[in-house]
């Protein structure tokens, strides 16, 4: 066989995948998305549950929910400031 034909033959070295490659790849992409999405939902659900639990505990403890009760200075307002100053 003549090796001078190699350049012509090189151009013929073309290949294709099977016809269902598109569907296989799309399936892989969907599977990978499904793997990531539950993790995000799992995290968000737990963060939301933790916030609700904290708010419930504050309500039980202080009887109301406000900015002051959340940051914990409600008791400071209600107590006698003179007592605090004497203590200091």
């Amino acid at each position: 066989m003549n090796t001078n034909k190699k350049e012509h033959n090189l151009a013929e070295m073309q290949y294709t995948y099977s016809s269902n490659i598109g569907k296989e790849v799309m399936l892989q992409i969907k599977k990978q998305k499904e793997l990531y999405l539950p993790n995000t939902n799992w995290l968000l659900t737990r963060v939301a549950a933790s916030i609700l639990l904290c708010l419930a505990l504050i309500y039980i403890q202080d009887g109301s929910i406000s900015y002051d009760t959340i940051i914990g200075i409600e008791l400071l307002y209600s107590s006698n400031t003179n007592e605090i100053l004497n203590y200091l």
Binding site: L10, M13, Y17, K23, V25, I29, Q32
Partner: protein
Amino acid sequence: MQVHKSISDNELIERITSGEEDLFEEIINRYQGAVATTTMNMLCDAEDSAEVGQQVFIQVYRSLARFRKQSSLKTYITRIAINHCINFLKRRKNFFGRSYELNKARNVRIKSEANQFEYKELLNQAFQNLDDKHRSVIVLRMIQGYSTIETAEILDVPKGTVLSRLARGMDKLKIILEEELKYEHQ
């Protein structure tokens, strides 16, 4: 999917990135031949080629929003395919050693001896004996038909390097083929 064949690549990309993700299948159908030709000639193994091909398209899907349209989509996909192949070859060599590819080459030879000996298989076998850098230039320049400048862009090397690798690679290929053909006639 027939309807989407008339849509340009740029429009397809815009529609995919804005939520019509199923249209990505059309991109796969358009460029699966280019990816298969690149991976099959680089890896010389149908199973590895199919595996890497899937990885390539998944990577293309993920990075589609970052595609800046400075080159054609085909060039962009081929660049990803070549990079995946080079990384795959490195891992394969690290794991199996160089002898793996040479054994694979002999297997191609044995298979082809059983059937009618074909020049395509002989070339495939000869590719196994080329270095990755020579192989990648020959695949892009001689098989895929990219210009020297496009090949340089894809491989991220200067134009002169492409030309020298091409010349050296073709010389090596010629020597390998001549040896193989001598062996065949003995």
